[in-house]
Amino acid sequence: MEKVSRRQFLGMSTKAGAATIVTGIFAPSLNSMIGFGGVAQAATKKIKPFNFAVLTDAHLYDINDHKFDGILEKAVSDVNKISPRPDFVLYAGDIGQTGLEAELVKGKKILDKLKMPYRIIPGEHDYYLDMGKAWRGLYGNEHWSFDHNGVHFIGMNSILVKDFWTAKKLTPHERMAWMEELECHKCGAWGVGSEQLDWLKKDVKNLAPNTPVVIMTHSPLWDYYPRWNFQTYDAPDIRKILSKFERVVSIHGHVHQVLYNKIGNISSAGLLSTSWPWPYPPIKLPYPDVKMNRADPGDFEDGLGTHNVALKSDFAGMMDYRAFSDLLPANLKRGLKI
């Protein structure tokens, strides 16, 4: 598929969606919460209101009684207590740390304690030992879509990199160890790849532009900090395919932090992990008000949490960061408008 630069893409989406993209109303103000919109979306298809939960980045080790096991257990029981009960749970990748089947099995055992169904996508830590074989055996397809109460949900594998291991004759364990480093500078940028792009095109082909869409990937669908793969190299292609929709909500794991951005019709939110928080990279955040506090390394639950997303009939949504410790600044305590 033809590569579209960000500038080309922005130009295109402005023309294509001029009637529906309302800029400004999404911009956050200092005292108000951040908008994924819902104000001027009269044309968006009405949905039946509901809520769903999101978990991500447990990074389980194959070590008995590891502290991260307990945190994922806590996250699962927290989600089970959310009222009203979420219709389902989304899991955004990195359930394991070193790709061992034992880690993925342990994760599944804990996730199976959820009282509602869940859908999951892989992260790089689940994948590069056996190229996703064990993960697929346990969890099924790496990409999927489903409809719920009028909303179209999409999940995709965004951590596919070009082969860096064959020429260097790396063993699977070495390949995994390289990928385990966030700042791996020899692994390359990752994305969803052309096969998944073709699948996505077909998946959304027959959907009306006023269909509310939620897309989940492991990495952000924008260039946040490429050195840490806080990016998806073919995100411009994804955004182009989704540009026909009035409003798309993108949620992603991998960044282990509170984060927000908006590009064209797509608003995007980062997620808290259940393992460790990550520092913000040395760049200016596009929405500096959507930022969590520094975590206390003496409190193993600080910087971590779960999420509840409530969608109203006009697809206006509120994402509640359910931090385990006192992590959120006042402007985020009551949630992030999405």
């Binding site: 990074h59 080790y61 070590i63 590891h66 502290k67 740390q97 070193t98 480093e181 966030l182 700042e183 500078h185 050195r227 840490w228 393992s275 460790w276 928080p277 990550w278 520092p279 913000y280 990279p281 040395p282 760049i283 520094r294 206390d296 390394p297 003496g298 193993f300």
Partner: protein
């Protein structure tokens, strides 16, 4: 009178000679001609070897017992904030040094044995932290979570 003058001169000469001796033989740094560019480069390379060693230590699970490495939580050494130390740190409960905080992070989040504060490994870990934050303004106890100096590619230091 003449004799007195001579003795004064002799005393002065003796002091000057012993001073020169002290400078030449007891203080080798002062004795050298100005450090050449080549010499500075050599010294930098020795430092970069320590930085590389520190990089490896920041990215190994061997310092701890629960599988974690510093790099899990501190990519590129970010959020170690070397420019803010020494400072009062709640977990240390006193004014402590970067090295003491490195040891605290080995002990608590990684459940490993602390390193010798003056050992080569600890010095290398400190070298990695400071090198990845080169140029950041010294700011004792500043409430700031600082990212490492952005680098386009490579490990972040000019060493293969």
């Amino acid at each position: 009178m003449k004799y007195k003058k001579h003795s004064k001169f002799a005393l002065f000469a003796l002091i000057a000679a012993s001073l020169a001796f002290a400078i030449v033989f007891l203080n080798p740094v002062q004795a050298k001609p100005p450090v050449s560019k080549a010499e500075m480069k050599k010294q930098m390379n020795i430092l970069l070897k320590a930085v590389k060693k520190g990089d490896d230590l920041w990215h190994t699970a061997k310092l701890g017992t629960n599988g974690l490495a510093c790099g899990n939580c501190h990519p590129d050494g970010s959020a170690s904030n070397p420019h803010t130390w020494p400072k009062y740190q709640t977990n240390l409960g006193k004014v402590g040094t970067l090295r003491e905080m490195i040891n605290w992070c080995i002990l608590v989040p990684m459940q490993g044995p602390m390193l010798d504060l003056g050992g080569d490994d600890m010095i290398a870990m400190e070298a990695y932290a400071t090198y990845t934050h080169r140029g950041v303004k010294i700011a004792p106890a500043k409430d700031e979570q600082h990212g490492a100096v952005p680098v386009k590619s490579g490990p972040g230091y000019p060493l293969k």
